[in-house]
Symmetry: C2
Subunit: 336 residues, 2 copies
């Protein structure tokens, strides 16, 4: 488990696409009390709606660390971000990153942090001594969220299901698999940073044997239909051996994020392929329903879409961010 | 590319199961002129049939390095091997390993090698700066060998096809993806040691754009049906974007190696799932035929089995280690 300096100032870099700022949005939505404000560099157009603060202002409001709240393809710490990161250290903040690149590998940050006695904390470090997966069936119940694409609602859905299960008095743990989830939960395994031979083993380690009535709700990663990240998704699926999957989708998205030549898969195809692959380690795997991202839609339109999709697929369909009857039905199906 | 001290003494440890000594057998079969002999510890029962030599005897015959010729689940350097490894250093040999564990992380080896001026060479180190896969279609032709299990003939088949293509005057490269292949070829990427987010990107890097008539014959890894290693197989499949797959199988094997509760998949199911997943990055992917490991069978029985399987599946079936008409037909189908 991590022991992170909190609360946070959220750093948005020069991001112009909201889907790349999912760490910042995730913290705002699921750990609002840990966030004092946001900071962008020149060129950045994305905002979380939190107060825009300089590092000095954030310190004055009690912030103890600045979190890099954006992710890019490759997980790089960009040169254009460095002046803002140095500013934050000088203002008195530690730095927290979930990028593949490590803060301490940037000489300017390492030197400045050492001079000032600040911490550089990388949460995208998998544990040591991950075993090779055994394929052995574990006790307890597991739910995995699965996506038609990256950045489509797998973490939000897992967090909403965890809260919903808790509200019903169920013994449940949220199992974080990415940097944002880890920052929210205070623990987990960054699955995309695990060496591929150990990927399924890391997933087995993340959701150990548990009492029969206990649920692990596991945050999905990537997509089986993403040409770069499907290996992560498959290792997580096999090692998690879920009893239940919930498929996450966004109707407005036509193609895989950043790859216009790759069209988004159909929900039915996603269910079918996930169950086919998942049966290897859990022959009883089933799909309980659909989590649809309807952000930007009018309430009536959204509810009509959910009803239509539910009828078309013969499964409950809900948007966890709208919380409603539909979401209760989705939870019923998960727990059935 | 590597520059390895050669020839080799092959170290077999205390291995009692031939399938775990595939590095030693691979070098014997595909780089016989690089191997002067073999060495086991107490308890070891596997032999390559090469002369059994002490490190001193191997040095006297010209050996310059001892290669760890065995792999275990997890890629560990066992404590029981250390005395033999130290002996080899003292006799004048460098050490070469393809294990996940690094030779230099064993204090006794690091100290002894430093004292004596010997090299500790780990070939299971992926290159730095592997990109995230782009999914972009590359020029040139690619063939990937695919297995129903690990250690079932994917490397042998790829090497045999490479030699067969060369004999036909085709412009071809063998692309090594595991430690043994890398030791044979002198280069390649150890795909199972790559961080999972970069797995498909590493496969893209391994077989770059090439002239239209050029073939890359890519050594497969793991199996989509192995509960620990399927992530490696899927990343390699997506990044390789093969035009052609050849499915490798061993009739005598009933269950996944080391996991008796996981039965081996059917060949037809393996073809179907591989093509379904492979279409993501190459819609024109096809299966050219089957490579059957018939070792231990009489020649007549083996040829009858190959004929039966070929008829059953409607595809050429050959055992590359028997080289014959069947193998020529398999190559014809690959190149069709």
């Amino acid at each position: 488990m991590l022991n992170l300096p909190q609360p946070y100032l959220l750093f948005l870099g020069d991001t112009t696409e909201a889907s790349y700022a999912k760490t910042a949005f995730g913290l705002r939505d699921w750990a609002r009390d840990l966030c004092v404000g946001e900071l962008s560099c020149a060129g950045g157009t994305v905002s979380t709606g939190l107060p825009r603060l300089t590092p000095n202002e954030a310190c004055a409001r009690g912030a103890r660390a600045m979190v890099i709240g954006v992710a890019n393809s490759g997980g790089l710490i960009l040169g254009s971000w460095i002046p803002s990161l140095v500013d934050a250290l000088q203002a008195g903040l530690d730095l927290i990153s979930g990028m593949h690149a490590k803060l301490e590998d940037v000489p300017e940050l390492k030197t400045t942090a050492a001079q000032l006695g600040r911490r550089l904390i990388d949460v995208r470090r998998p544990p040591r001594n991950i075993p090779i997966a055994s394929g052995r069936r574990r006790t307890g119940k597991r739910l995995l969220t699965v996506g038609t694409d990256c950045a489509i609602g797998k973490k939000y859905t897992a967090l909403a299901l965890t809260r919903g299960f808790e509200a019903r008095g169920i013994d449940v743990d949220f199992r974080a698999t990415g940097q944002t989830g880890i920052l929210i939960a205070g623990g987990g395994i960054p699955m995309d940073a695990v060496v591929s031979d150990f990927e399924a083993g890391a997933a087995e380690m993340l959701s150990p044997d548990a009492p029969p009535g206990h649920w692990d709700v596991i945050e999905g990663q990537g997509s089986l239909f993403h040409p770069a990240y499907a290996a992560v998704s498959l290792g997580l699926l096999h090692g998690s051996q879920p009893d239940v999957i919930v498929v996450c989708h966004e109707r407005a998205r036509a193609s895989i994020i950043g790859l216009p030549e790759y069209s988004l898969p159909d929900i039915g195809e996603t269910i079918d392929l996930t169950l086919r692959l998942g049966r290897l380690t859990n022959p009883a795997i089933r799909c309980a329903g659909i989590s649809l991202n309807t952000s930007g839609m009018q309430e009536d339109d959204a509810r009509r879409l959910l009803a239509d999709e539910s009828a078309r697929l013969g499964l409950p369909a809900a948007d966890p961010m709208r919380g409603s009857e539909e979401f209760e039905r989705l939870m019923d199906a998960c727990l059935a």
